[in-house]
Structures are given as C-alpha cells and as structure tokens.
Symmetry: C2
Subunit: 316 residues, 2 copies
C-alpha cells in the first residue's frame, strides 16, 4: 500500500463508532473530517488528495476482496454462484468462508449511491453482491420484515452492500406509522438477534450511517431540481420526508443506540463533504478487511503433478 | 468523449460479428487486433494506449449506464430493485425500459473474469447485474435448462452480465455427454426462441466469445500453477477439459453458426492479448449503448412548483 496515508488520531473504526447506549447526532458535525491526516493539506487541495488516496486504498480493497473470494471458491451450498467446478475447494483452516456485509443508511441525498459507485466500484464487480431495498412489494409484505433481507444476503466469499436495509423497518416504518408502535419497538431486539446470527455464520457486518445536514440536503435536492440530468433522482415525496427531518433524526438515534452492538457495530460517517465520505468509507472497509487476516488459500492439489500433466499437454 | 479514438475499418460490431451460417474459428487469429487504429502505435506502446482508451470509453459506458438506469426508475414490477419510491416514473416514449445483457463465453483462461473486472468495472456497480453459471445444482437440474437463466435476467434499467450462460448446455453438456444428442441438438432452436423472446421484452443481447489459442491457454494455466496467489483459480479438471479442446472447438462452432442470429448476434473477440480484449469489448458495448439512443428522462413533476416547495423548506 505504498503512498497510502492512514487516518490520524485512531482508526476509522474507533473514530466513527457509536453505540450501544446514548448517541447524540447533534454533536457530530456533518462537515467534520475525523481522522483526516495533516498530509491532506488545506482547503480545496484536500479534495484532490482524498480522491487520489481513495484510488490507492481502492486497489487494496480489490486485493482483499479477491482473497475473500478465493477462500470461498469450491465451497458448496446454495449461495455458491461460482463458475469453478463444485469440487470441495481451498479454504483456510476448514472455517466457513467469510462474507462481508456493508449496510448503508442515510437520509435522502445522503450519498449512498455515490459511495457505492466510488468505493465499492473499486472492487471487482464479480465479487460484489449489491441489493437495494425499496418499499416492500406485496409479496414481501406477506412475510416478516426480515424475509427479504435474508434472501438478499451475500454468498460466502462475496462483499455484500445493502443500499438501505432492514433498518428502514424502524425508520420509515416508525415515522410514517406503517406499523403500530409495539411492532416497531419489538424490532430492535429482533434485529440484534438476526445480526448476531449473521456474525455467527461468518458474516462481518459493517453498518454505516452517512450523516448529512439539513442544509446540505436542501442544496442537493435543489441540484436535482436544477440539472435536467438529475431530475430522475427526484421525487416529490422527498419533500414530505424532509418535512419530518426531526422525527427521522429521532428514529435514527434510537436505532443507533439500540443496535450499535459490538457484534455488528454502527458507524456515523460525516458526509456533507463527498471527498471525505469516500475517503473515510474506504479506510473503514480496509480496516475491516485487515481484521479478517485474509490470505490466498493453499493449493488443494499436487502442484508438481499438475505442472507435469500440463507440460504433457503442451503447456510451457 | 474527447480523446477516444474509435475502431478503424468498421465498427467493432461489424468487425467481430459471426453467423448465422458457416463460422471458421481457425480463420480467426486469437492474437489479431481487428479495428485497432493506427493511433495505437506499435509494439508494447499499444498496451498502454489501449489501457488509457479503456478508461476513457469506460467513463462513457458509465454515463450510458446511468441513462439506462434513470429511464427505468419508477418502473414497477418484480425486477424493480430500486431505492426510489415506486411511483410511476420517468420513462421515454412510454416504452418498456430497456435492459442490456452481455453473455460471455470462453474456454478456461479465456479472460471472462478479467474482462468483467476491467470493462464492467468501469460502470456503477449499483446498475450491474452479474451472474455466474457453474454446474447446475440439484434443484436446477430438476427444471428445464433455461429455468435458472430466466431467474438470472437483469431487471429493467440494468446491465446484466452472464459469466458463462445457457450456452454451456450445448457446450459442456454436449462434449461431456451430460445429455443425449437429441436433447442437445434440440436446444439450439429453444435458445433462439428464448433469445428472440428476450429481445421482444426490450432486452438488448450481446453475446461474446473470448477467443484464445491453445498455446495461450497453456501459458495461462502454467501461470496459475506457478503463482501461489493464483492456485485458487486452478482445478485439475481444467486439464481434462483442455484434452478435449477440439471437441469444444466444434461445439462452439456449431453454437455460433446456429445461434448467431440478427436478433441476438454472436461476436468472436480475439483474446490472446488482454489489452486488445478489454479495448474491443469496451467499444462493442459503447456501440451497443449508442444504438439504444438513450437520454435522461424528462421530469414527471412540475419542476417550478417543486423548487418553490423546497425553498419553503429552507433549500437554496
């Protein structure tokens, strides 16, 4: 990782972690830049510096993702969407192959799509499993709220990204009163159980709230109403949601407080500055991969013998 | 697209198209570089030139993909995996929103994964729908061979990539005699019907065979047996497949001849040189997008009125 300058004052995981227990979103400035090193420089130079760093860290994310993917090759099972023959394959330590799940939540215009494009986009799309959650379909509404979420989990070896998630069921469902209070109140514990279960199944869960200000949302919405290539991103209902900003803020706060567990922690990432958002998210993911201590799996065949066989078939 | 130099001597679609009717794979040199312009220079300089061009064309692919995605926003239906509210949305001409499906086939080591990484990787992963087809599972084998393929189709607005495909059912299934001859013979017509149906459902199908030589495959296999970070890509059965090279060649030839239809054409892309492979594939996709004549959808709301509403909510 030559050229990469890491965060200062702690890891991104330490600097951005919230919960369990009291969370004060008002105390986290959406324009702040926790961990940004002095090397970033000042003023607008920081933007260019961060873009370059995201490219470097992105290349490292790509390498880590490949190791994650490699370790799962040959793993049988319903999630195994691989082009390799399904022979029992290379896996470290006989462990279940790992998966990573990035959960992205934000108010409208919070930058989820941009973050996916720039940070997840640095990885090989073959190993990504991205799922967006909109309003539940009729079929989805007939099941419990986690049904569609379970079906959207990444297979072993994949990096999953949830663009919105089961947290909508304690956010919009609460604010818009789509269910009664007893129902959404019961969901925090259900979510914690579910996520603990995921972790036990070798899923590394990283939950990120992209934290933007009311003013920044206003500017970004106006951009969508000014640039005709962005009209498609706008929906009149966005303003109804914006009118309930404080209610959503309260709902987010409670979700962070109750579900920011050690097994599946929540991170609040100041996101008014897009360049900082991408930089911080890239490092957060890099640290997460580092913690998995990944490596390429050893050969599960006799390398010398295979080389001989290949030479017999004209390989050089 | 400043800086982009297009192919010479015809479009990539014209230069690489094969079928219907007689196809002579032996007459297509896997090291050739059809369409490569004089601007590419000579010798190893061409590699660097091509990499730079792929980046430029990739950015254009990203823009086209966004327009494709934008046109489908708000489209209801089972495939609509969007985070936007499901209100009937912006679509051009009341047409069904389009989708693009890239089908990639190749012998082992043909470069499918690399092509996906470098060319599809230039697009926003949010709008990609990549599916790899391995040996069918038990459940898949209980259904007809197209069952799993239909389930893997991209939703409207998405760019789908099939990493292997239903063509395996007339390739490996034929060579390894997984089904009897009458069965695989019947599949060419079934595939043509299926693909015609897709085209009628607004799917633009681009089928690409990455064409490598026996010698190049030998070198790439040896690389996988030499570099420990590549062991995971190797499987001893790869050599059993290599031993049947001519049989596979014959199976590919017949698939290209019978299924290279005008509705869903086949392209044979010389792929011994990775830099040419990526360059040619990027242009092939660019031309495909160009043919769709995409644009951003108009607003389906009153722009002025929404701006006023936003101003009332503090937007600037």
């Amino acid at each position: 990782m030559s050229g990469v300058v890491g965060p200062e004052g702690g890891s991104m995981r330490e600097l951005l972690r919230v919960g369990p227990g009291a969370v004060d979103l008002a105390a986290i400035d959406p324009r702040s830049t926790p961990g940004l090193p002095a090397a970033a420089g000042h003023g607008s130079a920081r933007k260019e510096w961060a873009r370059g760093q995201v490219e470097l860290v992105g290349a490292e994310l790509g390498r880590q993702q490949e190791m994650l993917y490699a370790a799962a090759q040959g793993a049988a099972g319903p999630g195994s969407a691989t082009s390799a023959p399904s022979q029992a394959g290379a896996r470290l330590d006989g462990d279940r192959p790992r998966r990573v799940l990035l959960v992205l939540q934000a108010m409208d215009c919070g930058g989820k799509d941009g973050a996916v494009k720039r940070v997840a986009g640095a990885m090989n799309p073959l190993g990504l499993h991205i799922r967006s959650f909109g309003p539940p379909t009729e079929e989805e509404r007939r099941h419990d709220f986690l049904w569609r979420v379970r079906r959207a989990l990444p297979p072993p070896g994949y990096v999953g990204v949830f663009n919105r998630s089961h947290y909508e069921d304690v956010l919009i469902a609460r604010v818009e009163e789509l269910v009664d209070e007893a129902t959404w109140r019961s969901r925090y514990a259900i979510i914690n159980d579910f996520e603990r279960e995921l972790v036990e199944q070798s899923v590394t869960v990283v939950k990120v709230m992209l934290h933007i200000s009311y003013a920044e949302q206003g500017e970004r919405l106006m951009e969508r109403l000014t640039d005709p290539t962005k009209y498609w991103k706008y929906n009149p209902s966005d303003l109804d949601t914006r009118a309930r900003w404080d209610d959503y803020r309260a709902a987010y706060t409670e979700a962070l407080e109750r579900c920011g567990t050690d097994a599946a922690p929540w991170f609040v990432l100041p996101a008014d500055r897009k360049w900082y958002r991408d930089w911080a998210l890239a490092h957060l993911l890099r640290e997460t991969f580092d913690g998995l201590d990944l490596g390429y799996p050893p050969a599960d065949f006799d390398v010398e013998r295979e080389r001989d066989r290949l030479r017999d078939q004209g390989g050089k």
